[in-house]
Protein backbone atom coordinates (compact mmCIF):
# COMPACT_ATOMS: atom_id res chain seq x y z
CA UNK A 1 0.00 0.00 0.00
CA UNK A 2 0.97 3.62 -0.56
CA UNK A 3 -0.41 6.65 1.24
CA UNK A 4 -0.65 9.89 -0.72
CA UNK A 5 1.00 12.51 1.53
CA UNK A 6 0.80 15.24 -1.11
CA UNK A 7 -1.34 14.88 -4.20
CA UNK A 8 0.82 16.81 -6.70
CA UNK A 9 -0.65 18.78 -9.59
CA UNK A 10 -2.83 16.13 -11.26
CA UNK A 11 -2.16 12.57 -10.21
CA UNK A 12 -4.23 9.66 -11.52
CA UNK A 13 -4.12 5.93 -12.14
CA UNK A 14 -3.99 5.01 -15.82
CA UNK A 15 -3.73 1.85 -17.88
CA UNK A 16 -4.13 1.18 -21.60
CA UNK A 17 -7.58 2.77 -21.59
CA UNK A 18 -11.26 1.97 -21.85
CA UNK A 19 -11.92 0.40 -25.24
CA UNK A 20 -15.35 -0.74 -26.39
CA UNK A 21 -17.46 2.07 -24.93
CA UNK A 22 -16.72 4.99 -27.21
CA UNK A 23 -20.04 4.52 -29.02
CA UNK A 24 -21.69 5.38 -25.68
CA UNK A 25 -19.73 8.63 -25.49
CA UNK A 26 -17.18 7.28 -23.01
CA UNK A 27 -13.64 8.62 -23.66
CA UNK A 28 -10.90 6.05 -24.11
CA UNK A 29 -8.59 7.63 -21.45
CA UNK A 30 -5.37 5.77 -20.54
CA UNK A 31 -1.80 7.02 -20.09
CA UNK A 32 -1.00 10.27 -21.94
CA UNK A 33 2.39 8.87 -22.97
CA UNK A 34 1.74 5.17 -23.54
CA UNK A 35 5.37 4.57 -24.53
CA UNK A 36 6.71 5.73 -21.14
CA UNK A 37 3.92 4.03 -19.16
CA UNK A 38 4.68 0.74 -20.92
CA UNK A 39 8.37 1.18 -20.06
CA UNK A 40 7.58 1.52 -16.34
CA UNK A 41 5.62 -1.75 -16.43
CA UNK A 42 8.20 -3.56 -18.54
CA UNK A 43 10.97 -2.80 -16.02
CA UNK A 44 9.06 -4.83 -13.44
CA UNK A 45 7.85 -7.56 -15.82
CA UNK A 46 4.32 -6.37 -15.13
CA UNK A 47 1.38 -7.26 -17.33
CA UNK A 48 1.09 -4.64 -20.09
CA UNK A 49 -2.43 -3.89 -18.81
CA UNK A 50 -1.27 -3.10 -15.24
CA UNK A 51 -2.30 0.32 -13.92
CA UNK A 52 0.45 2.87 -13.29
CA UNK A 53 0.43 6.17 -11.41
CA UNK A 54 0.52 9.17 -13.76
CA UNK A 55 1.64 12.60 -12.54
CA UNK A 56 2.55 15.85 -14.23
CA UNK A 57 4.82 18.87 -13.65
CA UNK A 58 4.58 18.68 -9.84
CA UNK A 59 4.78 15.09 -8.64
CA UNK A 60 3.05 13.69 -5.54
CA UNK A 61 4.70 12.72 -2.24
CA UNK A 62 4.08 9.09 -1.38
CA UNK A 63 4.73 6.88 1.64
CA UNK A 64 5.03 3.12 1.34
CA UNK A 65 3.19 1.04 3.95
CA UNK A 66 4.71 -2.25 2.76
CA UNK A 67 7.90 -3.24 0.91
CA UNK A 68 7.71 -3.51 -2.87
CA UNK A 69 9.66 -2.86 -6.06
CA UNK A 70 9.02 0.26 -8.10
CA UNK A 71 10.10 1.84 -11.38
CA UNK A 72 9.71 5.39 -12.65
CA UNK A 73 9.63 6.38 -16.33
CA UNK A 74 8.59 9.30 -18.49
CA UNK A 75 9.45 12.97 -17.92
CA UNK A 76 12.81 13.88 -16.37
CA UNK A 77 11.64 14.03 -12.75
CA UNK A 78 14.21 13.62 -9.97
CA UNK A 79 12.78 10.91 -7.75
CA UNK A 80 14.18 10.54 -4.25
CA UNK A 81 13.53 7.95 -1.56
CA UNK A 82 13.95 9.54 1.89
CA UNK A 83 15.88 12.32 0.17
CA UNK A 84 18.29 10.00 -1.71
CA UNK A 85 18.13 10.17 -5.53
CA UNK A 86 17.10 6.83 -7.07
CA UNK A 87 17.13 7.55 -10.80
CA UNK A 88 14.73 6.79 -13.61
CA UNK A 89 14.07 3.73 -15.75
CA UNK A 90 15.23 1.05 -13.36
CA UNK A 91 13.74 -1.27 -10.77
CA UNK A 92 14.23 -0.06 -7.19
CA UNK A 93 13.27 -1.79 -3.94
CA UNK A 94 11.52 0.20 -1.25
CA UNK A 95 10.53 -0.72 2.28
CA UNK A 96 7.88 0.23 4.81
CA UNK A 97 7.82 3.95 5.75
CA UNK A 98 9.99 4.98 2.75
CA UNK A 99 8.91 8.37 1.42
CA UNK A 100 9.08 8.93 -2.34
CA UNK A 101 9.22 12.42 -3.86
CA UNK A 102 9.55 13.46 -7.49
CA UNK A 103 10.25 17.20 -7.56
CA UNK A 104 9.81 18.95 -10.92
CA UNK A 105 10.81 17.48 -14.29
CA UNK A 106 13.87 18.87 -16.08
CA UNK A 107 12.51 17.66 -19.38
CA UNK A 108 9.04 16.56 -20.44
CA UNK A 109 5.74 16.74 -18.63
CA UNK A 110 4.21 13.36 -17.64
CA UNK A 111 5.86 10.83 -15.31
CA UNK A 112 4.87 7.24 -14.51
CA UNK A 113 5.32 5.12 -11.40
CA UNK A 114 4.81 1.37 -11.63
CA UNK A 115 4.74 -1.00 -8.65
CA UNK A 116 5.37 -4.73 -8.78
CA UNK A 117 2.17 -6.35 -10.10
CA UNK A 118 0.43 -3.02 -10.74
CA UNK A 119 -1.89 -0.81 -8.68
CA UNK A 120 -5.18 -2.21 -7.47
CA UNK A 121 -8.25 -0.19 -8.39
CA UNK A 122 -11.81 -0.96 -9.35
CA UNK A 123 -12.02 -1.96 -12.99
CA UNK A 124 -14.82 0.10 -14.53
CA UNK A 125 -16.01 -0.79 -18.05
CA UNK A 126 -12.86 -2.81 -18.56
CA UNK A 127 -10.28 -0.27 -17.35
CA UNK A 128 -8.71 1.15 -14.19
CA UNK A 129 -8.04 4.53 -15.82
CA UNK A 130 -9.48 7.42 -13.84
CA UNK A 131 -12.15 9.47 -15.56
CA UNK A 132 -14.56 11.73 -13.67
CA UNK A 133 -18.18 10.48 -13.84
CA UNK A 134 -17.07 6.97 -14.80
CA UNK A 135 -14.73 6.10 -11.93
CA UNK A 136 -15.36 7.21 -8.35
CA UNK A 137 -12.30 9.41 -8.39
CA UNK A 138 -11.21 11.85 -11.07
CA UNK A 139 -7.80 12.41 -9.47
CA UNK A 140 -5.99 11.35 -6.32
CA UNK A 141 -6.11 13.44 -3.17
CA UNK A 142 -4.04 13.71 -0.01
CA UNK A 143 -4.69 10.89 2.44
CA UNK A 144 -5.80 8.37 -0.17
CA UNK A 145 -4.41 4.83 0.18
CA UNK A 146 -3.47 3.01 -3.00
CA UNK A 147 -3.35 -0.79 -2.93
CA UNK A 148 -1.23 -3.18 -4.96
CA UNK A 149 -2.26 -6.21 -6.99
CA UNK A 150 0.53 -8.34 -5.50
CA UNK A 151 1.97 -8.43 -2.00
CA UNK A 152 5.64 -8.15 -1.12
CA UNK A 153 6.14 -11.86 -0.52
CA UNK A 154 6.47 -12.22 -4.28
CA UNK A 155 9.13 -9.57 -4.32
CA UNK A 156 12.19 -10.28 -6.40
CA UNK A 157 14.97 -7.76 -6.39
CA UNK A 158 15.66 -6.75 -9.92
CA UNK A 159 18.56 -4.96 -11.47
CA UNK A 160 16.93 -4.44 -14.79
CA UNK A 161 17.34 -1.07 -16.39
CA UNK A 162 16.70 0.13 -19.89
CA UNK A 163 18.15 3.04 -21.76
CA UNK A 164 15.47 5.23 -23.23
CA UNK A 165 15.24 7.00 -26.53
CA UNK A 166 15.95 10.59 -25.49
CA UNK A 167 14.59 11.98 -28.78
CA UNK A 168 11.17 11.01 -27.38
CA UNK A 169 11.51 14.11 -25.18
CA UNK A 170 13.88 16.40 -27.09
CA UNK A 171 12.70 16.02 -30.71
CA UNK A 172 10.46 18.88 -31.79
CA UNK A 173 9.33 17.33 -35.09
CA UNK A 174 6.03 15.52 -34.81
CA UNK A 175 4.38 13.29 -37.40
CA UNK A 176 0.86 14.01 -38.58
CA UNK A 177 -1.40 12.42 -41.15
CA UNK A 178 -3.80 14.65 -43.08
CA UNK A 179 -7.11 14.77 -41.17
CA UNK A 180 -10.53 14.04 -42.74
CA UNK A 181 -11.08 17.72 -43.65
CA UNK A 182 -7.48 18.53 -44.69
CA UNK A 183 -8.16 18.15 -48.40
CA UNK A 184 -11.21 20.43 -48.16
CA UNK A 185 -8.95 23.33 -47.16
CA UNK A 186 -7.60 25.60 -49.94
CA UNK A 187 -4.21 24.30 -51.23
CA UNK A 188 -2.43 27.47 -50.05
CA UNK A 189 -3.81 27.06 -46.55
CA UNK A 190 -2.72 23.41 -46.51
CA UNK A 191 0.83 24.46 -47.37
CA UNK A 192 0.86 27.20 -44.75
CA UNK A 193 -0.42 24.89 -42.01
CA UNK A 194 2.21 22.27 -42.76
CA UNK A 195 4.96 24.90 -42.71
CA UNK A 196 3.87 26.43 -39.41
CA UNK A 197 5.21 25.96 -35.91
CA UNK A 198 2.74 25.14 -33.17
CA UNK A 199 3.25 26.25 -29.56
CA UNK A 200 1.65 24.44 -26.62
CA UNK A 201 -0.78 26.85 -24.93
CA UNK A 202 -1.42 27.15 -21.19
CA UNK A 203 -4.87 25.52 -21.22
CA UNK A 204 -3.52 22.09 -22.06
CA UNK A 205 -4.60 19.02 -20.11
CA UNK A 206 -5.53 15.33 -20.44
CA UNK A 207 -8.52 16.25 -22.58
CA UNK A 208 -6.81 18.49 -25.13
CA UNK A 209 -3.70 20.53 -25.88
CA UNK A 210 -4.51 24.03 -27.09
CA UNK A 211 -1.93 25.00 -29.73
CA UNK A 212 -0.95 28.53 -30.73
CA UNK A 213 0.22 29.46 -34.21
CA UNK A 214 -2.74 29.09 -36.56
CA UNK A 215 -4.67 32.18 -35.33
CA UNK A 216 -4.66 33.81 -38.76
CA UNK A 217 -6.23 30.72 -40.36
CA UNK A 218 -9.72 29.32 -40.05
CA UNK A 219 -11.85 26.38 -41.08
CA UNK A 220 -15.60 25.96 -41.35
CA UNK A 221 -17.43 23.94 -38.71
CA UNK A 222 -18.58 20.48 -39.73
CA UNK A 223 -21.62 18.41 -38.88
CA UNK A 224 -20.68 16.65 -35.63
CA UNK A 225 -18.52 13.62 -36.50
CA UNK A 226 -16.23 11.09 -34.77
CA UNK A 227 -12.91 12.27 -33.29
CA UNK A 228 -10.15 10.41 -31.44
CA UNK A 229 -6.99 11.15 -29.45
CA UNK A 230 -4.57 12.91 -31.80
CA UNK A 231 -7.25 14.61 -33.88
CA UNK A 232 -6.25 18.24 -34.58
CA UNK A 233 -9.24 20.56 -34.79
CA UNK A 234 -9.23 24.06 -36.28
CA UNK A 235 -12.12 26.35 -35.37
CA UNK A 236 -13.61 29.19 -37.47
CA UNK A 237 -11.77 31.67 -35.21
CA UNK A 238 -8.38 29.99 -35.70
CA UNK A 239 -8.20 28.14 -32.39
CA UNK A 240 -6.21 24.95 -32.81
CA UNK A 241 -6.87 22.05 -30.45
CA UNK A 242 -5.19 18.65 -30.37
CA UNK A 243 -7.45 16.12 -28.68
CA UNK A 244 -5.72 13.94 -26.09
CA UNK A 245 -6.65 10.78 -24.16
CA UNK A 246 -9.72 12.07 -22.25
CA UNK A 247 -11.22 13.73 -25.35
CA UNK A 248 -14.89 13.49 -26.25
CA UNK A 249 -15.79 10.90 -28.88
CA UNK A 250 -17.40 13.31 -31.37
CA UNK A 251 -16.82 16.93 -32.34
CA UNK A 252 -18.03 19.67 -34.66
CA UNK A 253 -14.80 21.37 -35.73
CA UNK A 254 -12.77 20.66 -38.89
CA UNK A 255 -10.36 17.77 -38.33
CA UNK A 256 -7.36 19.12 -40.23
CA UNK A 257 -4.65 16.71 -39.03
CA UNK A 258 -4.29 13.43 -37.17
CA UNK A 259 -1.28 12.56 -35.03
CA UNK A 260 0.31 9.14 -35.11
CA UNK A 261 0.18 7.20 -31.81
CA UNK A 262 3.91 7.86 -31.31
CA UNK A 263 3.34 11.56 -31.98
CA UNK A 264 0.58 11.77 -29.34
CA UNK A 265 3.09 10.45 -26.78
CA UNK A 266 5.74 12.94 -27.90
CA UNK A 267 3.32 15.86 -27.82
CA UNK A 268 2.04 14.78 -24.38
CA UNK A 269 5.57 15.36 -23.05
CA UNK A 270 5.72 18.97 -24.36
CA UNK A 271 5.13 21.74 -21.86
CA UNK A 272 3.35 25.07 -22.10
CA UNK A 273 5.41 27.35 -24.35
CA UNK A 274 7.30 24.56 -26.13
CA UNK A 275 7.07 24.39 -29.92
CA UNK A 276 6.62 21.55 -32.36
CA UNK A 277 7.03 21.34 -36.12
CA UNK A 278 4.71 19.41 -38.37
CA UNK A 279 5.99 16.56 -40.50
CA UNK A 280 3.18 15.50 -42.80
CA UNK A 281 2.99 11.75 -43.34
CA UNK A 282 1.15 10.20 -46.26
CA UNK A 283 -1.16 7.24 -45.78
CA UNK A 284 0.71 5.54 -48.64
CA UNK A 285 3.77 5.34 -46.36
CA UNK A 286 1.84 2.89 -44.16
Amino acid sequence: MIEILKAGLYTTLQDKGRTGYRSFGVPISGAMDTVSAAMANKLLDNNAKAAVLEFTMMGPTLQFKVPTVISISGAGFQPKVNGEPIGLNKAVSVIEKDVLTFGHPKLGSYGYLAVLGGFEAQEVLGSRSFYQNITKKGKLEKGYILKFQKDASEKILRNASFSIDSTHFSDDTIEFFPGPEFNLLPKKLQEKIVASTLKVGPQSNRMAYVMEGLESFSAKEIITAPVQPGTVQLTPSGKCVVLMRDAQTTGGYARILQLTEQAICKLAQKRTGEEVRIKLKSYNDN
Binding site: T19, G20, Y21, R22, S23, F24, G25, V26, V124, L125, N133, I134, F177, G179, P180, I222, I223, T224, A225, P226, Q228, G230, T231, Q248, T249, T250, Q258, L259, T260, E261, Y283, N286
Partner: protein, 241 residues
Protein backbone atom coordinates in the same frame (compact mmCIF):
# COMPACT_ATOMS: atom_id res chain seq x y z
CA UNK B 1 -27.84 1.37 -49.36
CA UNK B 2 -26.32 4.62 -50.68
CA UNK B 3 -22.59 4.13 -51.23
CA UNK B 4 -20.43 6.00 -48.74
CA UNK B 5 -16.77 6.94 -49.18
CA UNK B 6 -14.17 5.21 -47.03
CA UNK B 7 -10.82 6.77 -46.11
CA UNK B 8 -8.03 6.36 -43.55
CA UNK B 9 -8.34 8.22 -40.22
CA UNK B 10 -4.95 7.90 -38.50
CA UNK B 11 -3.09 4.58 -38.27
CA UNK B 12 -5.73 2.52 -36.50
CA UNK B 13 -9.04 3.76 -37.91
CA UNK B 14 -10.99 4.35 -41.08
CA UNK B 15 -13.77 6.83 -41.65
CA UNK B 16 -16.93 5.98 -43.56
CA UNK B 17 -18.74 9.07 -44.78
CA UNK B 18 -22.13 9.73 -46.34
CA UNK B 19 -23.32 13.13 -47.56
CA UNK B 20 -22.79 15.42 -44.55
CA UNK B 21 -26.35 16.19 -43.45
CA UNK B 22 -28.68 15.76 -40.50
CA UNK B 23 -31.24 13.54 -42.17
CA UNK B 24 -33.25 10.50 -41.04
CA UNK B 25 -32.54 8.56 -44.26
CA UNK B 26 -28.80 9.06 -43.92
CA UNK B 27 -29.02 8.06 -40.26
CA UNK B 28 -30.75 4.86 -41.32
CA UNK B 29 -27.83 4.09 -43.68
CA UNK B 30 -25.34 4.88 -40.92
CA UNK B 31 -27.03 2.66 -38.33
CA UNK B 32 -27.45 -0.26 -40.73
CA UNK B 33 -23.84 -0.08 -41.97
CA UNK B 34 -22.68 0.14 -38.34
CA UNK B 35 -24.61 -3.01 -37.46
CA UNK B 36 -23.32 -4.82 -40.54
CA UNK B 37 -19.69 -3.93 -39.72
CA UNK B 38 -20.03 -5.09 -36.13
CA UNK B 39 -21.51 -8.39 -37.27
CA UNK B 40 -19.16 -9.03 -40.20
CA UNK B 41 -15.78 -7.84 -38.89
CA UNK B 42 -15.71 -9.10 -35.30
CA UNK B 43 -12.12 -10.29 -35.74
CA UNK B 44 -10.83 -7.04 -37.20
CA UNK B 45 -12.76 -4.33 -35.37
CA UNK B 46 -12.20 -3.01 -31.81
CA UNK B 47 -15.12 -0.60 -31.83
CA UNK B 48 -17.03 1.89 -33.95
CA UNK B 49 -18.26 5.44 -33.30
CA UNK B 50 -21.17 6.66 -35.39
CA UNK B 51 -22.39 10.24 -35.73
CA UNK B 52 -24.92 12.07 -37.97
CA UNK B 53 -23.52 10.95 -41.31
CA UNK B 54 -20.28 9.07 -40.66
CA UNK B 55 -18.74 6.16 -38.79
CA UNK B 56 -15.21 5.79 -37.43
CA UNK B 57 -14.12 2.16 -37.40
CA UNK B 58 -11.22 1.43 -35.04
CA UNK B 59 -9.42 -1.73 -36.11
CA UNK B 60 -6.90 -3.99 -34.39
CA UNK B 61 -3.14 -3.81 -34.72
CA UNK B 62 -1.78 -6.06 -37.47
CA UNK B 63 -4.67 -5.36 -39.85
CA UNK B 64 -3.55 -3.65 -43.05
CA UNK B 65 -5.44 -0.41 -43.52
CA UNK B 66 -5.70 -0.58 -47.32
CA UNK B 67 -6.87 -4.20 -47.31
CA UNK B 68 -9.43 -3.40 -44.64
CA UNK B 69 -10.79 -0.46 -46.65
CA UNK B 70 -11.15 -2.78 -49.64
CA UNK B 71 -13.01 -5.40 -47.60
CA UNK B 72 -15.31 -2.77 -46.09
CA UNK B 73 -16.08 -1.31 -49.50
CA UNK B 74 -17.02 -4.73 -50.85
CA UNK B 75 -19.14 -5.57 -47.83
CA UNK B 76 -21.08 -2.30 -47.89
CA UNK B 77 -21.66 -2.64 -51.65
CA UNK B 78 -23.18 -6.08 -51.26
CA UNK B 79 -25.30 -5.03 -48.32
CA UNK B 80 -29.01 -5.80 -48.64
CA UNK B 81 -31.46 -3.03 -49.51
CA UNK B 82 -32.81 -0.98 -46.65
CA UNK B 83 -35.79 -2.62 -45.05
CA UNK B 84 -38.14 -0.88 -42.70
CA UNK B 85 -36.82 -1.15 -39.19
CA UNK B 86 -38.33 -1.12 -35.75
CA UNK B 87 -37.82 1.83 -33.44
CA UNK B 88 -38.42 2.24 -29.74
CA UNK B 89 -40.27 5.27 -28.46
CA UNK B 90 -39.01 6.05 -24.97
CA UNK B 91 -41.26 8.20 -22.80
CA UNK B 92 -38.96 10.19 -20.54
CA UNK B 93 -40.56 11.76 -17.46
CA UNK B 94 -39.50 15.39 -16.94
CA UNK B 95 -40.44 17.80 -14.15
CA UNK B 96 -40.61 21.36 -15.55
CA UNK B 97 -41.14 22.87 -12.07
CA UNK B 98 -39.28 26.13 -11.43
CA UNK B 99 -37.21 24.31 -8.78
CA UNK B 100 -35.39 22.49 -11.62
CA UNK B 101 -36.18 24.64 -14.66
CA UNK B 102 -33.60 27.34 -13.96
CA UNK B 103 -33.80 28.92 -17.41
CA UNK B 104 -37.31 28.11 -18.61
CA UNK B 105 -38.42 31.74 -18.16
CA UNK B 106 -35.47 32.93 -20.24
CA UNK B 107 -36.39 30.46 -22.98
CA UNK B 108 -40.04 31.61 -22.82
CA UNK B 109 -39.15 35.30 -22.85
CA UNK B 110 -36.63 35.05 -25.71
CA UNK B 111 -39.17 33.23 -27.86
CA UNK B 112 -42.17 35.33 -26.76
CA UNK B 113 -43.99 32.34 -25.33
CA UNK B 114 -45.52 31.49 -21.98
CA UNK B 115 -43.82 28.86 -19.81
CA UNK B 116 -46.85 26.65 -20.41
CA UNK B 117 -46.39 26.93 -24.18
CA UNK B 118 -42.69 26.05 -23.88
CA UNK B 119 -43.59 22.88 -21.96
CA UNK B 120 -46.35 21.99 -24.44
CA UNK B 121 -44.04 22.41 -27.45
CA UNK B 122 -41.18 20.53 -25.81
CA UNK B 123 -43.35 17.54 -24.86
CA UNK B 124 -45.44 17.21 -28.03
CA UNK B 125 -42.45 16.56 -30.30
CA UNK B 126 -40.87 13.15 -30.91
CA UNK B 127 -37.08 13.40 -31.12
CA UNK B 128 -34.92 11.00 -33.12
CA UNK B 129 -31.68 9.91 -31.41
CA UNK B 130 -28.85 10.30 -33.95
CA UNK B 131 -25.92 9.17 -31.82
CA UNK B 132 -24.34 9.44 -28.36
CA UNK B 133 -21.43 11.77 -27.63
CA UNK B 134 -20.28 14.85 -25.68
CA UNK B 135 -20.84 13.13 -22.31
CA UNK B 136 -21.21 9.43 -21.51
CA UNK B 137 -24.70 8.45 -22.72
CA UNK B 138 -25.55 11.96 -23.99
CA UNK B 139 -28.07 11.66 -26.86
CA UNK B 140 -27.92 13.98 -29.87
CA UNK B 141 -31.61 14.58 -30.61
CA UNK B 142 -33.09 15.91 -33.83
CA UNK B 143 -36.34 17.79 -34.29
CA UNK B 144 -36.55 20.62 -31.74
CA UNK B 145 -39.40 23.02 -32.59
CA UNK B 146 -37.90 26.17 -34.21
CA UNK B 147 -39.92 28.33 -31.81
CA UNK B 148 -37.88 26.92 -28.91
CA UNK B 149 -34.41 27.55 -30.36
CA UNK B 150 -32.47 29.55 -27.76
CA UNK B 151 -28.80 30.57 -27.85
CA UNK B 152 -26.45 28.99 -25.32
CA UNK B 153 -25.77 31.02 -22.18
CA UNK B 154 -22.92 33.55 -22.45
CA UNK B 155 -21.28 32.10 -19.34
CA UNK B 156 -21.61 28.34 -18.94
CA UNK B 157 -22.60 26.96 -15.52
CA UNK B 158 -19.85 25.13 -13.66
CA UNK B 159 -22.19 22.45 -12.38
CA UNK B 160 -25.19 20.96 -14.07
CA UNK B 161 -26.88 18.04 -12.37
CA UNK B 162 -27.35 14.74 -14.16
CA UNK B 163 -30.87 14.45 -15.58
CA UNK B 164 -31.15 18.15 -16.41
CA UNK B 165 -33.12 18.70 -19.62
CA UNK B 166 -31.87 21.63 -21.64
CA UNK B 167 -31.97 23.62 -24.87
CA UNK B 168 -28.77 24.82 -26.59
CA UNK B 169 -29.23 26.65 -29.88
CA UNK B 170 -31.28 24.39 -32.17
CA UNK B 171 -30.76 21.30 -30.03
CA UNK B 172 -32.38 19.80 -26.98
CA UNK B 173 -30.93 17.10 -24.78
CA UNK B 174 -30.41 15.64 -21.34
CA UNK B 175 -27.23 16.08 -19.30
CA UNK B 176 -26.60 12.42 -18.61
CA UNK B 177 -23.85 12.95 -16.06
CA UNK B 178 -22.85 15.83 -13.82
CA UNK B 179 -21.05 18.34 -16.02
CA UNK B 180 -20.31 21.99 -16.69
CA UNK B 181 -22.43 23.32 -19.54
CA UNK B 182 -23.90 26.30 -21.34
CA UNK B 183 -27.35 25.09 -22.34
CA UNK B 184 -30.57 26.57 -20.92
CA UNK B 185 -32.05 24.24 -18.32
CA UNK B 186 -35.81 23.80 -18.67
CA UNK B 187 -36.45 20.79 -16.43
CA UNK B 188 -35.10 17.63 -14.91
CA UNK B 189 -35.72 13.94 -15.40
CA UNK B 190 -35.52 11.53 -12.43
CA UNK B 191 -34.13 8.74 -14.65
CA UNK B 192 -30.56 7.48 -14.61
CA UNK B 193 -29.28 7.90 -18.16
CA UNK B 194 -25.84 6.40 -17.73
CA UNK B 195 -24.75 3.81 -15.24
CA UNK B 196 -21.70 1.56 -15.26
CA UNK B 197 -23.90 -1.05 -13.56
CA UNK B 198 -26.17 -1.39 -16.58
CA UNK B 199 -25.44 -3.27 -19.77
CA UNK B 200 -25.46 -1.36 -22.05
CA UNK B 201 -24.45 1.52 -19.73
CA UNK B 202 -26.50 4.09 -21.67
CA UNK B 203 -30.32 4.20 -21.33
CA UNK B 204 -30.92 5.81 -24.72
CA UNK B 205 -29.53 4.27 -27.94
CA UNK B 206 -28.99 5.67 -31.45
CA UNK B 207 -32.13 5.09 -33.56
CA UNK B 208 -34.46 5.42 -30.54
CA UNK B 209 -37.23 8.01 -30.49
CA UNK B 210 -37.51 10.13 -27.36
CA UNK B 211 -40.65 11.86 -26.16
CA UNK B 212 -40.63 13.90 -22.97
CA UNK B 213 -43.59 13.61 -20.61
CA UNK B 214 -44.40 16.24 -17.99
CA UNK B 215 -44.57 14.99 -14.39
CA UNK B 216 -45.31 16.83 -11.14
CA UNK B 217 -42.74 17.40 -8.41
CA UNK B 218 -44.36 14.67 -6.32
CA UNK B 219 -44.25 12.13 -9.14
CA UNK B 220 -40.64 13.16 -9.89
CA UNK B 221 -39.65 12.32 -6.30
CA UNK B 222 -41.53 9.03 -6.40
CA UNK B 223 -39.87 7.98 -9.68
CA UNK B 224 -36.50 9.03 -8.28
CA UNK B 225 -37.00 6.60 -5.38
CA UNK B 226 -38.10 3.83 -7.74
CA UNK B 227 -35.08 4.42 -9.99
CA UNK B 228 -32.72 4.30 -6.99
CA UNK B 229 -34.34 1.04 -5.88
CA UNK B 230 -33.98 -0.39 -9.39
CA UNK B 231 -37.72 -1.04 -9.82
CA UNK B 232 -38.67 1.77 -12.21
CA UNK B 233 -39.75 0.53 -15.63
CA UNK B 234 -39.40 3.04 -18.43
CA UNK B 235 -42.50 3.44 -20.58
CA UNK B 236 -41.64 2.32 -24.12
CA UNK B 237 -43.41 1.23 -27.27
CA UNK B 238 -42.07 -0.38 -30.42
CA UNK B 239 -43.12 1.04 -33.77
CA UNK B 240 -42.55 0.27 -37.42
CA UNK B 241 -40.53 3.14 -38.81
Amino acid sequence: MKQPTIKPFGEQAVLIEWKPAIDDKILDNVLKANQLIQQSFKEEVIETVSAYSSIAVFFKKGIKQNDFIEQLTKKLKKAPKIETSLSRILHIPVCYDSKFALDIETVAKKNELSVKEVIAMHTEQQYKVYFLGFLPGFPYLGGLNKQLHTPRKDTPREKIEAGSVAIGGSQTGVYTTYSPGGWNIIGKSPLSFFSIKNNPPALIQPGDIVQFKQVSKDLFLQIEVEVAAGVYKIEEEVIDD
